[in-house]
Assembly symmetry: C2
Homo-oligomer: 139 residues x 2
């Protein structure tokens, strides 16, 4: 079972290759379409959406939704977790829109706490903490 029981298509391959080449970067489905169009290797948008969805289901890619109406963002997630041993969280500034990658023990602890005391298994990759970044909070 190579590709999780799915066919290995050219589109899936080049999409994965592209995503792997930009770890930590957030892109929209549309960005992906544009990228391949520019490459002279267009992929239908339906395919992009479908593949992206598969990859999210398989846990290879994360999906973030920041605002209603705005497009979802996707991000390749390295197998070992691109945040070393620590859990990686995302903080999104509500004011300037800045996205901050955070990894620290407190967040790790929170995860453990939620699990033990609330039976809730936190999915850090899917979770976005909203608030104000240091720049914007100082106003």
């Amino acid at each position: 079972m190579d590709n999780h029981g799915k066919y290995r298509t050219k589109q899936r391959d080049i999409l994965m290759k592209y995503l792997e080449s930009i770890p930590g970067i957030h892109i929209t489905a549309n960005d992906v379409c544009d990228y391949f169009k520019d490459q002279g290797n267009p992929i239908g948008q339906a395919t992009v959406y479908r593949q992206l969805e598969s990859l999210v289901d398989e846990g290879l890619v994360n999906k973030y939704i920041f605002d209603a109406g705005s497009p979802a963002c996707f991000e390749y997630m390295q197998p070992e977790s691109h945040c070393e041993a620590k859990t990686c969280f995302h903080c999104k500034c509500e004011k300037c829109g800045k996205l901050i990658h955070l990894k620290c023990d407190e967040l790790e602890e929170l995860k453990g706490h939620l699990m033990e005391h609330h039976g809730f298994v936190l999915d850090p990759m899917r979770t976005v903490l909203y608030g104000l970044c240091s720049d914007c909070a100082g106003n």
Copy 2:
């Protein structure tokens, strides 16, 4: 300046009254429309969206986005915070979609930590923690 420099309209009044009557409940713009339609007091959806947006801006109502494509949820927020002294967080189960309201010291601490060590002012009302609820995690 009664209503934050805005006119006090009948629609705004009944919308606020309705929202205040269901604290802690999450409803969509569409739910709101339906409710008033059923009451024989329909409010145009554009108005509902516009008023909801205003209320969010004024901090009287919170807006949550759980999934791409699905409608945003709104929730009335009592002035004093409807979660007593503690910060209230929302946990959303990725599997069954269940929404859990959580308030505990650990979350409170996390907020303090983010502020002190990362300069990030967490907005708990806007933040949704994704993961698996106790029921679904046991699978």
